[in-house]
């Protein structure tokens, strides 16, 4: 067997350098490394910073609540806030977001209240917010399957003559699923106003990038679909915002889809049931902590004089308030109605379901009276 083992080496070709505007030390990047993208306005950077601080506090809080057993599970986005927040910040109100299972904080940033984005993870219902009100689809678990929905919605908007863009997140694991290819090809063929943001966080649960692909970069795939592709430092919120915004506006103007790979890292476990010590080293995680997206932007903004202690404190306080509200919400008992199980399966009436609902109602009534019939 040894002679024929699957040898996993990753690409022999060096990956191109990701586009960056602010480097790991918090200094502005100059020259070719910017990919020709300009620094976003300072008020945009301050807003990205504020939102990243707030959603990180939320994310950390939810991870803790999950460990305490208040939620069934949670997929943390710690370390990936630049991708999450820049993606949402680049959208206009009429645009749509199609999240994967790790994009809770993006959904929150889109305006969905905590109980709405966490109903899934607490186990109250599979989704509990109004997608049309927020222009956010329910988070999707089957890898890459939701990416096709984004292409379909974008195509419908285009056919309707509406200036609506669909942005969808997927990961390095999802890139292997057939739906990822189908979505990129459909979007290209139909020139659908879609922006694909692939967060390469280096792990699909435990499986490292080298076992997911031999390619040096996911962004390279864009060439095969004849769409613009960008490899971006996914921990640089300024660069992610600049590249995604340009892609969104290109799509809105009729320029078709784009594929953007944000190179980032999942600092936390996949979920609370995962044990990352079995498949990666503490040194590796530490190395990525040094590239933290929030610290980097904060350093840059402080050095330029745009960010002061008062601003940072306000953002931190806002995060604390959100965390406290989230604790209160999640520590309160969830109100679930067993009889609602039958109410939404079909728009049309189903007599058979009505009978099953009646059966459950009788069981509940019996239980309430101590089993006396």
């Amino acid at each position: 067997m040894t002679d024929n083992d699957v040898v996993v080496t990753g690409s022999a070709r060096p990956a191109p350098k990701p586009i960056a505007l602010i480097d790991e030390s918090g200094s502005a990047v100059a020259g070719e490394a910017t990919g020709g993208f300009g620094m976003p306005p300072v008020e945009v950077l301050l807003e990205l910073y504020r939102q990243m601080v707030v959603v990180r506090r939320f994310d950390v809080q939810v991870t803790k609540l999950t460990r305490q057993g208040r939620l069934a599970t949670y997929a943390p986005a710690l370390g990936q806030e630049a991708c999450e927040i820049a993606g949402v910040a680049a959208l206009a109100p009429q645009d749509w977001l199609f999240p994967s299972h790790r994009d809770t904080v993006a959904m929150l940033a889109r305006g969905i209240p905590p109980q709405g984005v966490l109903a899934f993870f607490r186990g109250d219902w599979h989704s509990d917010f109004d997608p049309k009100q927020h222009r956010v689809a329910p988070l999707s678990v089957p890898l890459a399957s939701h990416v096709l929905h984004a292409v379909g919605l974008a195509t419908a908007a285009k056919l309707s003559g509406d200036p609506v863009v669909a942005l969808t997140f997927l990961g390095d694991g999802a890139s292997s699923a057939g739906d990822a290819h189908e979505a990129l090809n459909f979007a290209s063929t139909w020139q659908a106003p879609t922006v694909f943001v692939l967060q390469n966080n280096h792990y699909a649960i435990s499986v490292p990038l080298s076992h997911q692909t031999h390619a040096r970069s996911f962004a390279d795939r864009a060439a095969g679909y004849d769409m613009p592709g960008f490899l971006v430092d996914g921990n640089d919120a300024a660069a992610m915002y600049a590249v995604i915004s340009q892609a969104v506006e290109r799509a809105r103007a009729g320029g078709g889809p784009s594929l953007i790979e944000g190179v980032t890292y999942r600092i936390e476990a996949h979920t609370n049931s995962d044990d990352p010590t079995r498949y990666r080293t503490a040194d590796e995680v530490e190395e990525w902590r040094r590239r933290d997206p929030i610290a980097r932007l904060e350093t840059y903004l402080r050095a330029s004089g745009a960010l002061d202690d008062a601003f940072a404190q306000r953002a931190a306080t806002e995060g604390e308030e959100l965390a406290a509200r989230t604790r209160d919400l999640m520590n309160a008992e969830a109100r679930v109605d067993p009889l609602e199980l039958f109410d939404h399966v079909y728009a049309a009436e189903r007599p058979a379901l009505r009978a099953q609902r009646d059966l459950l109602a009788r069981e509940l009534a019996d239980a309430a009276t101590g089993g006396q019939r």
Partner: protein
């Protein structure tokens, strides 16, 4: 003017009497639905200039333009997945799977999303998508061109699964499927595409979720759907020559299931056999037999029979005649009862 607005002034469909095949009836249903509702779009493989491999979409692209009727890339998961997104935006897509077994790449999109998004979102999203699936055999199709997948879909909550057996139902049921706010799996028996009858279109038959007694009899009820209805009617004709009075029920809808009509028939005859092309093991006939046993056990004079395809993969063209249920096999099965 956007592509969707171009056709908003098309006049209401006029009545016309003619010999109509099932394929033509389906074509007319699509045309009339598109003329009436600008949100209806039609896409799939080869459905544009070619008009579909069975010509069900013939002429639609010329009439409504490429903004309403277009050829998609040849990828069924992509076809259904994008239809879900279109429906989320407010369109009413009607997509074609070309051949039954070609729908399997779309299984995840149908089972995990199309069927579930309504419930997942507490009804805040509804997906008025029609997935048209030319189904079953009897046309000499090579491998993967003759499958019967109805049991998979019928076993999936959230879907409405219907199948017409004749041109009038084909028109009426497809119109109703397109108008439905729930996703509909619309199974078109390929061997019946060329069956014709005199029809004035538009025609409205029974609601698509109702079964129909297509032939009245008193000795036995044959329960069938899609291509099986022809087999059941042939068996009824042959049975009549032997003084056997056969009632035939066309289920039309597999999900929801019209217990009322089927049970009433079995109460009358006391005997029932279910016919379908799909393998019997785990097939839809098992659900029919179980429901009837639960509800009508004391009306039954004999065990419920299933006359189905064998429990083997669908055979090659030169062997399909040995696989497909036919009138002789149905009558032979009825002979196994004590009368």
């Amino acid at each position: 003017m956007t592509m969707l607005e171009e056709n908003r002034t098309v006049p209401a469909p006029a009545r016309r009497t003619a010999t109509v095949t099932m394929a033509a009836a389906l074509n007319a249903a699509l045309r009339d639905a598109m003329a009436e509702d600008p949100r209806v779009v039609v896409y799939g493989e080869d459905i544009g200039a070619l008009g579909g491999v069975f010509r069900v979409t013939d002429g639609l692209q010329a009439e409504f333009g490429e903004g309403r009727v277009w050829d998609s890339p040849a990828a069924e998961s992509g076809i259904v997945g994008t239809a879900i997104g279109m429906a989320e935006y407010g369109l009413r897509p009607v997509v074609e799977m070309q051949f039954d077994a070609f729908s399997y790449p779309a299984f995840q999109q149908i089972a995990s999303h199309l069927a579930k998004l309504g419930s997942r979102t507490k009804g805040r999203l509804r997906l008025p998508v029609v997935v048209r699936i030319p189904c079953a055999g009897g046309i000499g199709g090579i491998e993967h061109h003759s499958d019967s997948s109805e049991a998979y879909w019928a076993a999936t909550p959230g879907l409405t699964v219907v199948t017409p057996s004749n041109p009038a139902d084909a028109y009426s049921m497809l119109r109703e499927a397109i108008a439905s706010d729930d996703p509909v799996i619309f199974m078109e028996p390929k061997s019946r595409y060329w069956m014709s009858e005199e029809l004035a279109l538009p025609v409205q038959t029974l609601p698509m979720t109702k079964a129909r007694v297509v032939r009245s009899g008193s000795d036995v009820t044959l329960i069938a759907y899609g291509s099986g209805v022809k087999v059941a009617l042939d068996a009824a004709d042959a049975g009549a020559e032997e003084d056997l009075s056969v009632e035939v029920v066309d289920l039309r809808s597999l999900s929801p299931f019209d217990d009322e009509t089927v049970c009433a028939s079995v109460r009358k005859t006391g005997r029932a056999a279910v016919i379908h092309e799909a393998p019997g093991f785990g097939g839809f006939g098992a659900e029919v037999a179980a429901r009837l046993t639960e509800r009508e056990f004391f009306s039954l004079e004999a065990p419920i029979l299933r006359v189905t395809g064998f429990d083997i993969p669908f055979p090659a063209p030169k062997l399909e005649q040995y696989y497909l249920p036919n009138a002789e096999r149905v009558l032979a099965a009825l002979d196994t009862w004590e009368w």
